[in-house]
């Protein structure tokens, strides 16, 4: 009892001048190490991206693998995107009805739902859902191939692994994200209307007419196609994490986790930049 009390007091007592220097040194060193590590990570990511880009634009093209990856990223993400999009539609419908009723603006419900789903929630939710499903999948698959020397075996067979494994997966993500976003948007609108109509009947025709009144292509297309950038981020980070894995099963787990966490984080950060960019370029 007395021992533990003594330790606590010692732990919170102010450090002596010599100890203070050591503490500052340690803090400075670890901060510098962190910053150095961050620069190194971005540098390696840049080199990786350049190698993939160079491999992607030079023949031979890996069409068969690309179509396999389009199926893997697109068709297999379809159910989860449908569910996430539908849920978002219902949530926005419930929230919007309540908020708009309070301000006596119920007539704005269709436009609110359409704009919120298509401009804000649809793209980001699709990006996050795909980064979870596809990012983890690609990260774990490539990491597992790396630690079992399968990627080395591909290279030893005179096949460029950046072309066969990375370029195809990244391209599949870039191409499929906008299509999955359209699916998510459609499900969100449909389920949002359905949830509204259960409480306060509204014809679907009327809902669409009011929702898209005054809308132009610029209102929706940039928001949908910005998800190609999310696709690039998800594919690039997952392939990068997977292909540079070390350390057996633990390394595979770490690669999968890092792929999801970093891809999701960068998707959100990219959204900040892309929203501003779209507002400026497509006012």
């Amino acid at each position: 009892m007395s021992n533990s009390g003594f330790t606590t007091v010692a732990a919170i007592s102010p450090p002596l001048p010599g100890q203070r220097t050591v503490l500052i040194d340690t803090a400075v060193n670890s901060t510098m190490g962190l910053i150095g590590g961050l620069f190194e990570w971005f540098g390696n990511l840049g080199i990786f991206f350049w190698q993939v880009l160079r491999a992607a634009v030079t023949p031979p093209y890996e069409w068969r693998e690309l179509f396999r990856q389009l199926d893997e990223v697109g068709s297999k993400s379809f159910p989860v995107v449908v569910m996430a999009g539908s849920a978002i539609g219902v949530i926005i419908s419930l929230e919007a009805r309540y908020s708009l009723s309070r301000f006596g603006a119920k007539s704005l419900f269709p436009a609110t739902l359409v704009y919120t789903v298509i401009q804000v929630m649809g793209p980001i939710i699709t990006g996050l859902v795909v980064s979870g499903r596809v990012g983890a999948g690609i990260g774990a698959e490539l990491a597992s191939m790396k630690v079992t020397e399968q990627i080395d075996a591909i290279e030893a067979s005179a096949i460029n692994p950046y072309r066969l494994l990375a370029a195809t997966r990244i391209l599949a993500c870039i191409l499929m994200l906008p299509l999955l976003t359209l699916v998510s948007d459609a499900c969100g609108l449909l389920m949002g209307w359905f949830a509204q109509t259960l409480v306060d009947p509204l014809s679907f025709h009327q809902f669409i007419q009011d929702g898209f009144k005054g809308a132009t292509f610029n209102s929706f297309l940039p928001q949908t196609f910005k998800t190609s950038v999310y696709g690039l981020i998800i594919g690039l980070i997952a392939c990068f994490q997977g292909m540079r894995t070390r350390g057996g099963a633990e390394g595979v787990g770490r690669a999968a986790t890092n792929s999801v966490v970093l891809a999701s984080l960068f998707v959100i950060l990219a959204d900040v930049v892309l929203v501003k960019f779209i507002l400026v370029v497509f006012p």
Binding site: Q51, A55, T58, P60, S144, M145, T148, E149, Q150, D152, A153, E155, A156, S157, A158, I159, N160, Y162
Partner: protein, 262 residues
């Protein structure tokens, strides 16, 4: 004065009569961090010859093979394949050289999402576009027949034993009819009977195809069976290079200890 054409013709002639090395490694150095793995190694292998590289774990035997096939870059030194230095070649240019090489990985490194037949067909699908599907299937069957795996075409790598995986890995390494065969621990982790079978298989392939082979192994018995020459590595250096008899007659303590304990 000899022209470039004369030199090329001379080299071709010397390759044909087997006197010029197919693989020549000169003063090769490689470090990982502060750890020196290869410390100026020089070795060469001629056509139809098998060189066994022996040594304790961690002496850089596998690194040597990985450098020869371009999976690792040396710090200094040269690796000449048919006289062309390949050290530091770009990935796509290295691809052309790699088509002349077959590599058997220590754990076979079969593609776990492909069947045995698809694994062997993999290099053919990517490099022999002129082959029809039926020609490719015939070639795969023939390769698997050569390694005694013709009855396992549709099995997945996870459904076959370690020895069988090595045989399939060997068939895949031979798919593009390489001039150079690199084998990383072909008998490691196998029972004595399977090891003997793999040794017999390598000997048979050597007789039939006359490739230049480098075999990295711990297994002295296997090395003695399949290799014409042996090189013993220690601390990144070649301690001795010669026939098995040369090693037996050596009075170097490390060689004596290695032979005694193997």
């Amino acid at each position: 004065m000899a022209t470039t054409y004369d030199i090329a013709m001379k080299q071709e002639r010397s390759e044909e009569d087997g006197s010029a090395p197919v693989v020549a490694v000169n003063s090769l150095r490689k470090t990982f961090g502060s750890h020196m793995v290869l410390n100026g190694i020089s070795l060469s292998v001629n056509r139809g010859e098998t060189l066994a590289v022996l040594g304790r774990s961690g002496t850089g035997k596998s690194v040597l093979l990985r450098i020869i096939i371009g999976l690792e870059t040396p710090d200094s030194g040269s690796i000449c394949i048919h006289g062309q230095n390949i050290a530091g070649l770009a990935l796509d240019r290295m691809g052309k050289i790699r088509k002349k090489m077959g590599f058997l990985f220590q754990h076979a490194a079969l593609y776990d999402s492909l069947t045995v037949a698809e694994n062997v067909a993999f290099p053919l699908v990517h490099h022999r576009k002129d082959m029809s599907r039926s020609e490719r299937a015939k070639r795969v069957k023939q390769l698997l027949f050569e390694v005694g795996m013709e009855g396992n075409l549709d099995k997945m790598p996870s459904d076959i034993s370690g020895g069988m995986q090595k045989r399939v890995g060997l068939a895949r390494a031979l798919a593009l009819e390489p001039e150079i065969l690199l084998l990383d621990e072909p008998t490691a982790g196998l029972d004595p009977i399977s090891s003997g079978e793999i040794d017999d298989l390598i000997l048979k392939l050597q007789r039939e195809r006359r490739m230049a082979s480098i075999v990295v192994t711990h297994d002295l018995h296997s090395a003695k069976t399949i290799a014409n020459r042996l090189a013993l590595l220690d601390q990144g250096n070649v301690v001795i290079e010669g026939t098995f008899e040369d090693l037996q007659q050596s009075d170097i303590k490390f060689v004596e200890d290695f032979l005694k304990l193997s």
